[in-house]
Structure formats: structure tokens, C-alpha cells
Amino acid sequence: MSLDTEVDALKKVPLFRDVDDAKLRLLAFISERMSFRAGEHLCEQGESGDVAYIILEGSADIQISTNHGPATVATVKQNDVVGEIAILIDVPRTASVVATTEMKVLAIAKDNFLKLLKNFPDMAIEVMRVLAQRLERTTREVGRLRAGSAGAEK
């Protein structure tokens, strides 16, 4: 149970990939270590979320509710992160996360994360860069889809 293993996990999260070690240690320190039993919900679809989870051990299903009950759309495992958008803006959870095994996770609370960003603007820039890359990718994807659908209409 030491910070080092948590830092290793954090380093594998794309959002924090280029943040230096010392700050990640601080981030790990101000986060909480939590455990979940198989079947427990890490978060609930529709709830307002203010925590991101970094999975240190175990795996979980991402489920969205459909007319026919919950449907699993993806699985997350060690070193994956869930709910990172929630620590940046207030949005309801888009899916539920249900533990499929015993899990150990690192919970990063929104308030603490924002305090950290406030203290280290270069870390904020790092996060911004990652988000911008994602946006760029999404924009390209949307453009491609549009072009595709426009082509199909013709």
C-alpha cells in the first residue's frame, strides 16, 4: 500500500501521461484508495458525478440502461480510468460502472483535482493538450462520418 504503485498506475492514464512524477505523487496522495466487491456499483448512470476512478486491481463492466434492462457496452480493467470527464465539468454519468471482480481503485475527487490544477498551471496545460487531441480526433471522425453520409445520400 504505497504511493509508488498508485503513481505507476496514474502514469498509464493518457490524461496524466506527460505530467511529472512529483505531481503525480501529490495527486495520488490527495486521492482516496477504495475497494469494491464484485457486483457493487462504482457509479450510477444519470447521477451527477464528481469522482474519477483509476483501476488498480480488478475489472468492471460499463453498462447503459436500455429498454430491455442494462446492457454491457465495454469492460474496463487495471490501469483504466473511468469518469475522468466528471472531474472537469458537471455532467451526469453517461453509464453505470459495475465491478465484476474484487476491485481496488484510486478515487480522485473533482475538488481536489481542480485545486491541483490551480496550483500547477503546466499540469492544466498538459490536460488541455490531451483534451484538445481528443477533440481534434472526434472532429475528424465527425467530418469523416458526415462526408460518408453525404456520399451515401448522393
Binding site: 504511493l3 512529483a22 501529490l26 496522495f29 490527495i30 482516496e32 477504495m34 475497494s35 469494491f36 490551480k118
Partner: protein
């Protein structure tokens, strides 16, 4: 009160002042003899002849004669000093008694202020006047008569002596006194005026400081600290300027005085010298005059100092008194301690054409109203409608400008507080909370007069009483028991608690009390019964947790044979805590016995190692990076100031190991380690071996701590653990930090289980010991109103007047109506929800009574928007309350 300082001194200490004067006079002959005797010794005993001499029939040779005189001399010296000592002590006694009397009088005057008069004064100023400003008077009063009499007398003796030697030189010696007598008062007058300004300025400063403390939220909320700082800067500058002016004048007076004192010798030498040469004066006489003049300087200087002091004290007295003597105060008889008339305020409340104004333009005009005894009714209106004034008038807290308010035919302004305050209860929208427990705040309404003797020995009691008499203070003993249980209708303290709890349940605060009880620390010795019930609850609840898988997963129970990562390392290592809950964890390591116990148990080095690791990580995380308080304060185990202090410890430990640390440095590290909660902090490696060492060491630590005689409370499933809160005692474990929401869920479980077990009421009673903080700051506004309400209901008043007390929860009013039973109840409200529950409603608008009847008949006057306004206000109040909660 006496208008002048001397009037005050003379009226209350005439005899004492004359005694001081008497003792002073008594010291003269002794002083004279101590001056005279050395002459005898030299001239008569050493240099004399004709021995043996006869003293009191004894024949003495030269040596015995000398020794006898020396012995007498020694005796006189001792006697002289004894007289001086007695005199000084007596002066001190007189001065302090007078000061005590003055302060008591000032406080008594405050009690006599009428309500509107409090609008013009600030607490900060009153405190500054009553405490600091009159302080010097104590010293002065002892000298007030003796000094001028003594120094003046001495001065006159010397002057007469000089005049006898030569009238002309005598005239020269005193020639400048008239000039000094003219100039010095002029300068002093200016000093007096400045002193007055200074006092007022200082008062303003203390008022500003008081205001800043009270309004600190506003200051930070509006970024006005700079404005306040500038304000103080300005006031301090004014203070500096005034003081500088005072100094200048004071030393100018000194300068003039010194100069004038040294001028006459000029005349003595010139004119006196001329007279000697011309043979009109003997040389011896001139020397005698010069010597006498030298002695003259001292008493004169003393007199001048006294004069300066006197004028200074006069200013102080005047500037204080003028604030405590406003016109039209309550007559002293209203507060008379002996006035215990058996007036029963049982009867109709009648307003005969009453008009009144309460400062600031709010007024009520021409109110004609009869509230029959035993009726329960409503006065409806917004805050500025005159509703509050009507209730204050009925409570006798405000006076009619014209017309009369009568209860049962007796005019309220003629009645003493002892009658008004027992039969009438008034609760406003924000009742004041005293800095005491909830119980203290509630039973407050029963403290009219002592009901039993104080538990002090007879001599102490007599002393207190005689001192109180000598200084005109209250003869009631504060340590006596004051709670008049009979007026609450209960037999003993136990009944009283139950009764209070019933009232709180009725007013809807019972559950809050229960919660406070759970969070409180109780003393198992003071209340063994409650402690026993808590232990019973612990057994049941532990059992339930053990048998319920889900609950078991949320709690880490304390077990003597297991490490608890959700508890602090202090608790884990000692399996005990200091009996005094106010001792912080890190301070335990300063206890040499604890360190010795840890060493013996073999975990001391582990703790030092953990402490060093933690300090190192803290330094790495917080020292290297400039982080602000939001992160530091919430997360760092070391403050910004502590970080550099720990740096050398860590360095020493890393290079030289344990041996390189001084014992106190090692203790600091242990203290730091004590605060670590492994499940939360994850800072240090606590492997299974280490954890096992902590556990196996507990037995040795326990034996050691046990020997310390109650300084530590050992964790024991069968005993109440004093430093832990009631809730922690019941759980005897820690909610797991790694399980989401464990602490909330466990708390809810405990609360439900306790209600089931019937422990709720005893714990709610423990909640009565909750401290409300300064002005009730630890309670929400609603809670404060409820406490005020219970305070009022407890004394079973014949007339209960509530003003805006229950608007936020109209349902409570039904319970209050029941609690009031057959007694008169008048509820001031702006809520139609409250109003519609009553059969009679009086509607106030703009200071006039506009409607009187049942709800339907006055419905038109209760305009909708008025109600809306009010509802908005109530909502705001609720929101504010939630925020504070």
C-alpha cells in the same frame, strides 16, 4: 451616580480616607524621631560626657548607653517601615474596594438602560470604559486625600520656617508660586482636553475591533479588510498624535516647574548675599533658608504631580460616567434584589390608547386592545408593521410614550423585573444564546434568585458577604444553586432533564439533541448509568455488525489481537488514548512514559522510521512545490512552518539512523507517525511484520499505561473509553475508509439501532451538555430559536409572547399551544400558516391596529403579497441555516 470623582470618593470612603490621613499623621513623629535620634547618638552618646546616664531608672555607662540608643533607633526604623507597609496596604484595600464598587455600579447602570438606549451604545466601548479606563482610579483613590494633606502640610511647615528666618526671603521663596499656579493649570487644561480626546479615540478603536470580530464574515465576503485596516491605521495615527501632544505639554509643565524652582536660589544668593554682607541677615540664617528651600522643592513637586493626576482622573471619571448616566433609565427599584412582591400577573392584558416609538421611526399609535387571560391569539403583520412593538409593550420590555399597558389592572411600568420576568416570557426572532451548554441556556430562565446556599465553608461565605457589603455589590452568591426547580414544576435535576427533553421533542429539536449527544464526550464517572447503557448498546451493536455481512464489510472493529488500518497509529500502538480528549495525538509522544512504554514494547523504532518516511514524503510533496493553503491545509500532515523544522531530522535519520537523532527529535517523529491513519495516508510501508509488532507490543504498553493512574483510557470492549465520543464508544471500531459512504451508513445504522434499544432519550439528554459557542454560533438560527422557546416555556409563564419564533415551521405552534395549556399565548407572526391555526387574529399595518377577528374575517387584510414576502424571507432563513449546518 455621583457627578464628580471627589463626590464619589467622599460619599463612599469618607471614613477610610480620614483613617489614611490619621495613619499618615501618625507616621510624622516616628519619622521625626528617626531623624532626631542620630543627632543624639553622635552628640550625646559618642561625643558626650557625664556618664552614667539614667534612662527609665536604669544607670547606663557610655557603651551601654550608645547601644541602647542604637537599639531604639533600629526599633524606630522598623516601626516606621511597618507603619508605611500598613498604610500602603490599607490604601490598596480602600482603592480596590472603591474600584470594585465603581465597576459594579457601572454594570448596574447598564442593567438600568432601557431597550432603546442600547441602540446608542456599543458593547466594545462599554467594556473598554468599565474595565480599562477606570483601572487607574483604584491607585489614585487611596492617595486622594492623604497626599495633598501630607505634602501640603509639609510645604506649609517649610514656608513658615523660611518666613520666620526672614520675611523678605520667605516672600522670595514663594514669589513664583502664583505664576506657576497660573500657568500650570492653563497648560494642564489643554492636557485634560487632549486626554479626553485620547479616551474617546481609544474607545472608538475598541469599538472597531469589536465590530470587526462580529462582522468578520462581511469583511471577507466583500473584500473590505483593507478598508478596515486603513480605518485602524487612521485611528492609531490619531492616537499617536494626541499622545505626542500630551507628552509635549506634560514635559513643558515639568520644564517650567523645574525652572521656576531653580529661580529663587538666584534671589537667595544675590539678595540674601547682599543682606549678609550689609549685616542685615546672619550667615547662619541664609544657610538655613537655603536648606529649607531645597526641602521645599520635594513636596511642591509631589503636589504638582498630584494635581496633574487629579485632573487626569477627573477626566477619566467624567468621560466614563457621562456614558452610564443617560436620562430616563429604569428606576433602581425595578431591579431591587429585595423586592419580591407577590404580584401575580394573572389577568387580561389591556392596551389603553397606547402609542410608542422604538427609535428609528418605527412606531405604534393609539393601540386599543384587550387580550383576555387564558386566550391564545395572533398578532399578524410584517416586521415593520408594529407587530414587534405590540409584543414588546405587552412584555414590559418597551415603554408606552402615551397611554398605559396593564395586566390584571396593574400598569407594567410600575412593576419590578422580579414580577415581569417570571410571569411573562418573551421570545423574539433571534433569542440570545449565552456561551454555555444547551442545558445552561435553557435553565437560564429559572435563575431568578439563589434557591440554596453555596457549597463553600462558613468563613469564605462570611468574607464574601462582608466584602459585598463594603463595596455595595450583590449579596447573592454566584456559586449558590440558582435553578428554581419549583417554578419549572419538577422535583429534581433528573426530572428537569426529562422535562426539558420533552419540551425539545415538542418543539422538534429532540433529534438534533440526540445527534449532539452521539457526538459528545461524556464522563463515565459523572454518569455511570449512561456509560453502562452505552456499553450495553455496544454489545448489541457489535453483535449485529458481526452477524451482518454487509455491515461487517463497512466497519473495522477494534480487536486487541488485530491491527486496524482505519485507526490512527497512536491508537494502534497504544490501544489507548489520553483520558483528556483535548490532547492532540502528536502531543502524546511528548510524554516520557509513553516513549518508555513504546521502547519496551519494541515499536518505538518502527514509529520513528514511519515518522521519518512521512516527514520525507511531506517535504517532497509540499516543500519542493509551491502549493497554496487549499492543498496544504487539507492534506499535509505538517504545516508550512513545520516542514523546514523536520528537514534536519529526516536528514539525520537518513545518514546516521536512529542513533543520530536527539531524543526530542525522535519524539517529534513518533508524534507525526501517531497521526498517520494507514488506510488514508498510504505514506509509509506498514507490512505484516510491522503490524504484528504493533499488536504484540500492546500488552506491554497496556501494563505500562495502566500504572500511570488514569492518565490514559485503555481500549477495552468491556469498558467505557472516556476520550472517545459516545458514537465511537458504541461502535468500538472505525468505519472503513476504503468503502464508499461507510461512515454515513454506519452512523445511520447506529442511530436506528439506538432508537430501537431505547437509548435515544438518555443520549439526547447527553446532548443537553453540548456547548453552543459564543452567541450560539455552533447552533443554526432555527435551533437557537427553539432553545429560546424551550427556555421560555420551562419557567411556565402565565403569559407567553412569541415574535416570529416559529414561522419557519408552523406545525410546531400546535405543540406550543398544548404546552402553554391554560395560559395566555400571543404569537406575533407574518405567516398565514401560523395565523390560520388561531381563533383570533389582530392585524397590524403601519403601526396601527387595522383588524381584529377570526381568520375569515381578517383574511382580506392579510394581503397575499405580504405573505409572499414573508415566505421568501423564511426560505432565505432556511437556506442560511442549511449553509451553516
Amino acid at each position: 451616580m455621583q457627578k464628580s470623582l471627589f463626590g464619589f470618593i467622599w460619599k463612599f470612603s469618607k471614613r477610610q480616607q480620614l483613617t489614611i490621613l490619621g495613619i499618615t499623621m501618625l507616621s510624622f513623629p516616628i519619622l521625626y524621631m528617626t531623624l532626631e535620634l542620630p543627632k543624639w547618638i553622635v552628640n550625646d552618646a559618642i561625643d558626650g560626657s557625664d556618664f552614667p546616664r539614667t534612662i527609665l531608672g536604669y544607670q547606663l555607662e557610655q557603651i551601654p548607653y550608645l547601644l541602647t540608643l542604637c537599639a531604639i533607633f533600629l526599633g524606630l526604623v522598623v516601626l516606621n517601615n511597618v507603619v508605611k507597609f500598613v498604610l500602603n496596604v490599607y490604601k490598596g484595600v480602600v482603592g480596590e474596594r472603591m474600584l470594585r464598587r465603581l465597576r459594579y455600579l457601572l454594570y448596574f447602570q447598564i442593567m438600568r438602560f432601557r431597550l432603546p438606549q442600547f441602540r446608542g451604545v456599543s458593547a466594545g466601548e462599554l467594556i473598554s470604559m468599565m474595565i480599562a479606563e477606570v483601572e487607574d482610579l483604584g491607585v489614585f483613590i487611596g492617595d486622594a486625600v492623604a497626599t495633598p494633606a501630607f505634602q501640603g502640610g509639609t510645604l506649609i511647615v517649610y514656608i513658615v520656617f523660611i518666613f520666620v528666618q526672614d520675611p523678605f526671603l520667605g516672600a522670595a521663596a514663594v514669589s513664583l508660586y502664583p505664576i506657576q499656579g497660573y500657568i500650570i493649570p492653563k497648560l494642564q487644561r489643554r492636557v485634560v482636553l487632549l486626554a479626553r480626546d485620547r479616551v474617546k479615540n481609544v474607545r472608538k478603536i475598541s469599538d472597531k475591533v469589536g465590530e470587526s470580530v462580529a462582522g468578520i464574515t462581511e469583511i471577507h465576503a466583500h473584500d473590505t479588510s483593507q478598508w478596515h485596516l486603513a480605518d485602524i491605521t487612521d485611528k492609531l495615527l490619531t492616537n499617536y498624535r494626541i499622545r505626542l501632544e500630551i507628552y509635549k505639554r506634560k514635559y513643558m509643565i515639568k520644564f517650567i516647574n523645574n525652572f521656576m524652582n531653580q529661580l529663587p536660589p538666584f534671589f537667595f544668593y544675590s539678595v540674601g548675599g547682599y543682606l549678609v554682607i550689609s549685616g542685615e541677615l546672619t550667615f547662619g540664617a541664609l544657610v538655613a533658608v537655603l536648606a529649607a528651600y531645597k526641602d521645599l522643592a520635594n513636596p511642591w513637586k509631589e503636589l504638582i504631580t498630584y494635581y496633574q493626576n487629579l485632573s487626569n482622573m477627573n477626566v477619566k471619571y467624567d468621560t466614563v460616567i457621562e456614558n452610564f448616566d443617560p436620562p430616563n433609565m429604569y428606576p433602581p427599584t425595578r431591579l431591587d434584589a429585595d423586592r419580591e412582591e407577590d404580584v401575580s400577573l394573572d389577568g387580561d392584558i389591556v392596551f389603553n390608547n397606547v402609542s410608542a416609538s422604538f427609535g428609528s421611526g418605527q412606531e405604534v399609535a393609539d393601540i386599543r386592545l384587550t387580550i383576555p387571560a387564558h386566550e391564545q391569539m395572533v398578532v399578524f403583520g410584517s416586521g415593520s408593521s408594529g407587530r414587534t412593538e405590540v409584543l414588546l409593550l405587552a412584555a414590559g420590555l418597551m415603554d408606552a410614550a402615551s397611554g398605559r399597558v396593564e395586566i390584571g389592572g396593574k400598569s407594567l411600568d410600575q412593576l419590578a423585573e422580579s414580577a415581569l420576568g417570571r410571569d411573562i416570557a418573551y421570545v423574539g426572532p433571534s433569542p440570545y444564546m449565552f456561551n454555555d451548554t444547551i442545558r445552561g441556556n435553557v435553565v437560564y430562565s429559572l435563575r431568578h434568585r439563589p434557591v440554596g446556599p453555596a457549597e463553600i465553608d462558613e468563613d469564605e461565605h462570611k468574607l464574601r458577604l462582608s466584602e459585598a457589603k463594603l463595596t455595595g455589590n450583590s449579596r447573592y452568591d454566584f456559586d449558590a444553586s440558582w435553578e428554581d426547580l419549583a417554578s419549572a414544576g419538577v422535583e429534581d435535576a433528573r426530572d428537569l432533564d426529562q422535562h426539558i427533553l420533552d419540551l425539545f421533542d415538542r418543539t422538534g429539536l429532540g433529534n438534533d439533541l440526540f445527534r449532539m449527544g452521539l457526538k459528545s464526550n461524556i464522563d463515565p464517572e459523572a454518569d455511570p448509568e449512561l456509560a453502562e447503557r452505552v456499553l450495553e448498546a455496544r454489545r448489541t451493536i457489535t453483535e449485529r455488525i458481526r452477524s451482518d455481512e454487509e455491515l461487517r464489510d463497512l466497519v473495522d472493529l477494534w480487536r486487541a489481537d488485530a491491527f486496524n488500518p482505519n485507526g490512527s497509529l497512536a491508537e494502534n500502538a497504544l490501544f489507548a488514548l489520553p483520558s483528556d480528549p483535548s490532547v492532540p495525538l502528536e502531543q502524546i509522544a511528548q510524554d516520557a512514559d509513553v516513549i518508555a512504554a513504546l521502547k519496551e514494547a519494541g515499536v518505538h523504532d518502527d514509529l520513528v522510521d514511519i515518522g521519518a518516511q512521512v516527514a520525507e514524503t511531506m517535504i517532497e510533496l509540499f516543500s519542493g512545490m509551491a502549493v497554496d493553503d487549499s492543498l496544504m491545509g487539507d492534506f499535509s500532515l505538517l504545516t508550512n512552518d513545520q516542514l523546514p523544522a523536520f528537514e534536519p531530522y529526516v536528514r539525520a535519520y537518513r545518514t546516521g539512523g536512529y542513533a543520530a537523532l536527539k531524543p526530542e527529535q525522535a519524539s517529534e517523529l513518533v508524534g507525526l507517525a501517531f497521526r498517520v491513519v494507514p488506510a488514508r495516508h498510504r505514506l509509509a510501508e506498514i507490512d505484516d511484520d510491522r503490524a504484528a509488532r504493533f499488536v504484540s507490543g500492546r500488552e506491554i504498553v497496556r501494563k505500562r499505561l495502566e500504572a500511570l493512574g488514569g492518565r490514559f483510557a485503555l481500549f477495552d470492549p468491556e469498558h467505557y473509553i472516556k476520550p472517545l465520543k459516545v458514537e465511537e464508544n458504541i461502535l468500538f471500531g472505525k468505519p472503513r475508509l476504503d468503502r464508499r459512504g461507510a461512515s454515513d451508513r454506519i452512523e445511520a445504522f447506529i442511530r436506528n439501532a439506538l432508537s430501537e434499544l431505547g437509548v435515544r432519550d438518555p443520549l439526547a439528554k447527553a446532548g443537553l451538555d453540548y456547548h453552543v459557542g459564543v452567541a450560539g454560533s455552533r447552533l443554526s438560527p432555527v435551533q437557537r430559536r427553539r432553545v429560546g422557546l424551550v427556555r421560555a416555556l420551562l419557567k411556565r409563564p402565565k403569559i407567553t409572547l412569541l415574535d416570529g419564533t416559529v414561522d419557519e415551521e408552523p406545525r410546531v405552534i400546535d405543540e406550543i399551544r398544548k404546552a402553554c395549556g391554560d395560559n395566555t399565548l400571543v404569537v406575533g407572526t407574518a405567516s398565514t400558516q401560523v395565523a390560520r391555526r388561531f381563533g383570533r387574529i389582530v392585524v397590524m399595518q403601519e403601526g396601527r391596529l387595522v383588524q381584529d377577528g377570526d381568520y375569515d374575517s381578517v383574511a382580506s387584510a392579510i394581503s397575499e403579497d405580504q405573505d409572499e414576502d414573508h415566505r421568501a424571507q423564511a426560505d432565505e432563513a432556511v437556506e442560511a441555516e442549511e449553509e451553516t449546518a
